[in-house]
Structure formats: C-alpha cells, structure tokens
Symmetry: C2
C-alpha cells in the first residue's frame, strides 16, 4: 500500500500521530510511505523511520526538483509545497500505479484495504465531498470556481490517485495556468485547483467512511437519521479528519474524539 504525505516541519507531530494510527490499524499490510517535503532534517527522517520500522513500513523521501517550479505562480503566504499533491505523479516513481494521499491532521482507525482497492475506472482521483458543509460553503465555491456541473466540493485531505490516468491528463502547466488566472479566487489553493480543473473526474466516496469531519458528529447523526451513532462511527469510519482551526494536538482541544487523538499522540511520543 503506497501512502503519500506532503508536509512541512511544523506538522511533524501530527504526521507522526497520523502515521502511528495508520500503521497500528493495517495489520498484515506492507506500507510504503512516500514523503514530499522541503525542510525535513535527516533527524526528522530517522525519527519517522523509527516509527515505521516496528510495523515493517518503508520510508521513501522524494527528490523534488527546483526546475519543476520555475513557472509556478505563488499564492499569498503559501509555499510551493501547495503544489506537491497536485504534482504527485511527477514526483513518484513511474512504476507506481496507485497512491493514497493523506493529510497529517487525521486519525486512521480501520484497515484501508477496501478504500485502497476501489475500482476507479478512468477517474483521476477518488475523494469525499463534505456535504455537512455544503449549505454553508458550496454555493460560494461553485460561483468562485465555476464548478456548476459538479455535485459538490471535494475535500482534498484524502485523495486516492489513479496514477496512470493522472500521468496522461494532469499537466503541470495547466495547473500553473489555472492558479495564475484564478489567483484572487483561491482560498485553499490545492483543493480549489483540484475541484476547478478536475472536479468532474473525481470519483466521490462516502465521507462518513473515508473523510469524516470530526467537528460534525451531530450533523452526520442527524443526516443519517440516527444510523451514524458513536458505535457505528467507531466500527466503520476509517479516516477521521480534524478539519478546521481547532487542532486536536493542542492542549485546549476537547472535542468528542479528543481522548482518541491524544491516546495515539501519546503512543507516537513513546517512539522519539
């Protein structure tokens, strides 16, 4: 199972927590972790290796070439790292045909085997729409990015990639072009580009399984007419996503899933 993460050093702690939860819940699976990062030190990589080794997982830091970004426009305070998940196919070995991108602000609570082996046909990506937020954000996003044709706005925190199709259809110059033309409209550049350029070629997956917004337990419960209660969530939800500004690694965080997050944080901290 190939996993892609892109991060900067400020997210090293949550990355370690996410990886701990990932590895502890994939028994019998060999995980290959591809790491796209600019500023990781050798010690950072070693610390990730210590985390992965007991689970038989391998780390593959990716070489990122400056000339790929020669013509890349920048957006406000975002670094070029905002392009990494969009350019995954350029960065990953050509032998790979599938990779699962995961944000660091997540917990992985179940085996990802079924997700990883989703039949993708000629879709470029598989991802989830956060419908819980549709009423608030979608009309704005639809106007902003002219994605009237799509049923919603995909969250790019979990992104399953069909690499052969992406290599055929996703061109860096299209992405840079799109960013250049829409610079003023981009709130979350990578996610906006993904939806704006490729929204119609993304296979929608069930967000309660694979990109559950940890802030919205009550909304999911109501929308599912009581099906998605806590027992259901803890039995079925594979990816819990701590979206928004209040992050679970902060001391003040006390959301419903805080004990679960902080438990995995403590396990991650045991391996220095």
């Amino acid at each position: 199972m190939n996993i892609l993460v892109t991060l900067d050093r400020r997210y090293l702690l949550p990355l370690r927590v996410m990886l701990t939860s990932l590895l502890m819940n994939q028994p019998g699976e060999t995980v290959h972790l591809y790491l796209a990062a600019d500023d990781l030190t050798e010690e950072d990589v070693l610390s990730l290796e210590r985390l992965c080794a007991p689970h038989g997982a391998c780390i593959h830091p990716l070489a990122i070439q400056d000339d790929w970004f020669e013509h890349a426009p920048t957006v406000r305070y975002y670094s070029r790292a905002m392009y990494y998940r969009l350019l995954a196919a350029q960065m990953l070995p050509e032998t790979l045909d599938r990779v699962l991108y995961l944000d660091p602000d997540m917990l992985i609570l179940q085996p990802l085997h079924d997700l990883y082996n989703t039949e993708m046909g000629d879709h470029l990506y598989a991802a989830c729409i956060h419908k819980g937020l549709v009423d608030l954000s979608t009309p704005v996003n639809k106007i902003r990015l002219s994605t009237y044709e799509n049923e919603g706005y995909f969250n790019s925190g979990m992104l399953l990639m069909n690499l052969p199709e992406i290599r055929r259809h996703v061109r860096p110059e299209d992405i840079f072009d799109y960013v250049e033309r829409n610079r003023q409209l981009l709130l979350l550049p990578d996610q906006d580009v993904l939806n704006g350029l490729y929204g119609e070629r993304i296979l929608p997956l069930d967000e309660t399984l694979y990109n559950y917004d940890a802030r919205h337990f009550r909304e999911y419960l109501i929308a599912s007419q009581g099906v998605c209660d806590l027992d259901w969530v803890m039995r079925h939800t594979a990816i819990l996503h701590f979206c928004g500004k209040r992050k679970p690694w902060l001391r003040a965080y006390s959301g419903r899933f805080a004990p679960l997050y902080k438990h995995y944080m403590s396990i991650a901290e045991r391996t220095p």
Copy 2:
C-alpha cells in the same frame, strides 16, 4: 509479564477489548495470560489465542479444583468465581513470583512495566483507593468492615500480587471464615474480603495512573487543581477503569472515553 484474569463467559467481549488494549500498548514485552474461568468453551480459548498470537502472548488456562471450594460459603448470587482472585496463589504455578490481576472492564493505555516492577517490600498486594468516592462510600465501608485503621477502601479491579508473601500469609480457610462471619455485610465480596482481611498489607498506588475511574474526569481534574486534564490523562493514565453500571460496550454508552473504548472494541472485533 504475568497477567491474571478471572471471568465468566458474559464478560468475554470486554475481556477481549481489555486484552487488545493491553497487548497493543506493551511493545517488546512478552505477556503470559493466566485465565481463571469455569465456563469457557474450547472455542472461547481459541479465540483468545488468536487475539494474543500476533503479539507473541501466551495463554495459560488454570485448572481449578472443586475440592478447594468444599468449605467455601456462597454469598447471594455470586458464584465461586468470586474467590478466584483471592485464591490466585493457590491456582497459579508455584514458580511465579508476581502477577497482575486486571478486571475486564478496563482499557490499558500505556506500558505497564513500571507498575509491574513496583517495589513491594513485604506488602501482599498493591492496589488503588478510589478517593473520588471516599466521601460517599468510605464511612459506610469502614463501619461495615471495621477497617478504621486503613486510610481508605481499595478497589480490587487492579491488583498487583506479591505471590511469595501471599503464599505465606493468605490462607483459604481465613477467607472462607471471614465470608461466613460477615456474609450479611458483604456488598462486593472479593473486594470487601481483601480490604477487611488484608487492607493493612496493601501498598497504595496512584489511582490516576493505575485505576482511573472513567466516570470521574471532572472530580480528578478538580482534586488535582487542574493538573489531570485530558492531555495529562491520555499521556499518563495507564489503566482506565469503567466502573459502575453503565458499561462502555453497550450501545447507549456515551461517556467521555466512549470513542476510545469503542475503537479498541472495533479492533478486538476484527479478530474473530
């Protein structure tokens, strides 16, 4: 590390959850699990073996001899299993010098190495007093069991046993005698006997570390003047005890630590 559990079949699910959390949080430790039970089927034992095998843990079902209980008085609806933790030294191999008894309604969240290696001197047991409940229950317990000399009433859910000392001082006939004489006063027979007969020879340990009552987060937080907040608990508490009638494996349970419990329950369920 020798672990003792005593159970009946109705507690097989929670036992599997407790063991899952125990084994996942003892990396590098070989766990020997001693099982005192009357009504486990061969299939039950096999299912526990499947749970233990991936962690390199071994199961040792204990032979329980009927004649040990010839003179044992019965108390209300309790079965003879109420005596098992009190008679642990009789049941366990003579070569063992230490064992940690654990109730099934617990989660083990940290390595137990420090607890297990507690210096016990000539104490028979090490256990925790639930001080959070002292104001409510201790005066009653003290009158009931005449343990005025003790500082409190030990919870017997976590019981570290100094087996050589126990073999020298704990006699089954004393226990049966005590039960016979106090039959009308015993609410929780095993725990009451332990406190009544051996309370002065129990080494008190910190309940926030080793027998944290999951119902009393706010009480611990206040009593510790804010030290035992959620971050502290998830970093330090090794044994979380779901005391009381509302049990976390029931669908209706929604206490603060419910997501954590139900996550481990889901992991336990993955191994049939």
